[in-house]
């Protein structure tokens, strides 16, 4: 009989951990969109939102701890599964044709590492305030920091590119996580695919609006 440790060492258990951490990271993406949209409302809205998040140090660190654990689990088990999959087919095909595997599904192993690199860049830019972009960083003034960053062309392009990649990642991940939890059934399949499409599009567009608006000089002149 499986205990919990052997379960999470099994292929299915690893995918369950990917799915559960994926659900948490997905929920964070949804929450992050609301934050990003407040930027469009103006400095008062987004900075007030920032103060609300920081209202209690215990509370924000509770959520941060959850996110860090989810991210570490997601990346760790993705890496383990990736190497398992590499080992599972030591000699590849000379000629390979895909019938159903979507572009999003086949690029998960590439979009994942790019997103991790972007998250580190994004934290360095807007949370830690490192000088990764031109211009000063003002602690607590989220609006000014975003505006300042996105005014530089390449920064805005990096953000728009990364959230588009996130959309691609979510296009497969959002239904795949339900399927890894055993919720695959033909009765809910189209529902899950539909939900994945809408969620991926909404999240990537929602996050792209702020950098795109600044880049196009629709905000901040």
């Amino acid at each position: 009989m499986f205990g919990l440790i052997p379960f999470f060492r099994s292929t299915i258990g690893k995918k369950v951990l990917m799915a559960v951490s994926g659900v948490l990271l997905f929920a964070f993406c949804v929450e992050h969109v609301t934050g990003a949209l407040l930027f469009l409302k103006g400095p008062g809205a987004i900075n007030g939102y920032g103060r609300l998040l920081h209202y209690s140090a215990a509370l924000i660190w509770f959520f941060r701890a959850g996110l860090i654990v989810a991210a570490v689990v997601h990346v760790t088990f993705a890496t383990l599964l990736y190497f398992q999959e590499l080992a599972a087919r030591p000699v590849g095909y000379r000629n390979r044709r895909y019938l159903r595997a979507s572009y999003a599904a086949r690029t998960m192993k590439y979009s994942g590492p790019f997103l991790l690199a972007f998250v580190i860049f994004h934290l360095a830019h807007l949370t830690w305030g490192y000088n990764v972009v031109p211009g000063p960083f003002i602690a607590g003034d989220i609006y000014a920091n975003m505006l300042n960053g996105f005014r530089t062309g390449w920064v805005a392009l990096v953000y728009v590119g990364a959230v588009s990649l996130l959309g691609l990642h979510l296009l497969h991940g959002t239904h795949s996580m339900f399927e890894s939890l055993g919720l695959r059934h033909r009765r809910v399949e189209s529902l899950l695919f539909g939900f994945a499409r809408v969620a991926a599009l909404a999240i990537s567009v929602g996050l792209a609006l702020a950098p795109a608006a600044v880049f196009l000089r629709m905000i901040g002149g």
Partner: protein, 257 residues
């Protein structure tokens, strides 16, 4: 019709293989793919060359012995069809046909296109059985099976264990095969007593063979000659999660009395 075959040739499991170009002239479009290989092999033998080794048995699409990757697709271009039931009319005159063995660490090449699928046998041996009293035949209708369960179990039982799902999966995962076997027995009352222990044992055996994980590409179901539904992968996931988190530990000594 005339074809150009690009065939994987490999002396044995220890040698390095290569692709060989073989002209296949005057092939009848009414031949099956394996009959075409038979004709090619006859000519190779007459010419003093070694014939192409490939696996086959029933040649009527039910045994699961045959199976090669044809132009990048296990069992070739015709959906829901084994290699032996694929006919040459689905190819164009003059077409280049690339033929490779199913590729997975768990399926080592024995020679040319023939692979060792014992890994599937070991997965079956781990849990593909039921406990049933021997002796007189059971009474008819003593054990009721709902129409839905009977249909679903039959759909799962359609799996012939050919290994095309593994061959097609970019991760070389055996989840569709194991899902079909676990569901086929677990859906029926006769297989219920071992439902949780079976899924444990078969998943452990699957992992021990070195198959990859399921990342929901759905390539398996697209090439499956029996169109086994990926719903059975969902059921496999549910059963293992259920076995770990819901099943009560079974202690033999207390249940014996």
């Amino acid at each position: 019709m005339n074809l150009v075959l690009m065939v994987w040739r490999q002396e044995n499991a220890r040698t390095v293989g290569h692709m060989q170009r073989i002209e296949a002239k005057d092939i009848s479009p009414d031949m099956s793919f394996l009959e075409m290989l038979d004709v090619v092999n006859q000519r190779l033998t007459v010419a003093g060359q070694s014939p192409i080794t490939f696996d086959h048995d029933c040649r009527e699409g039910i045994c699961g012995s045959c199976g090669v990757v044809i132009n990048g697709v296990p069992h070739g271009p015709q959906p829901g069809t084994t290699t032996c039931q694929l006919h040459m009319r689905h190819f164009r005159d003059g077409q280049v046909v690339v033929i490779e063995p199913f590729r997975a660490r768990a399926f080592p090449v024995i020679r040319d296109l023939m692979i060792d699928r014992s890994a599937f046998d070991r997965v079956i041996a781990a849990g593909g059985f039921i406990t049933s009293p021997t002796g007189s035949a059971p009474d008819g209708n003593a054990m009721l099976v709902s129409k839905g369960a009977a249909d679903a179990a039959m759909d799962a039982a359609a799996c012939i264990g050919c290994g095309a799902c593994v061959a097609a999966c970019p991760n070389a995962s055996a989840m569709l095969f194991v899902g079909a076997k676990v569901s086929h027995l677990g859906l029926l009352p006769q297989g219920r007593p071992e439902r949780w222990s079976r899924v444990h044992a078969m998943v452990a055996a699957m992992d021990a063979e070195g198959f990859g994980g399921c990342t929901n590409y759905l390539e398996c179901t697209a090439v499956c000659p029996k169109n086994v539904s990926p719903d059975f992968i969902g059921r496999l996931n549910r059963d293992l999660i259920g076995a770990v988190f819901l099943a009560r530990p079974r202690v033999a000594s207390t249940e014996a009395g």
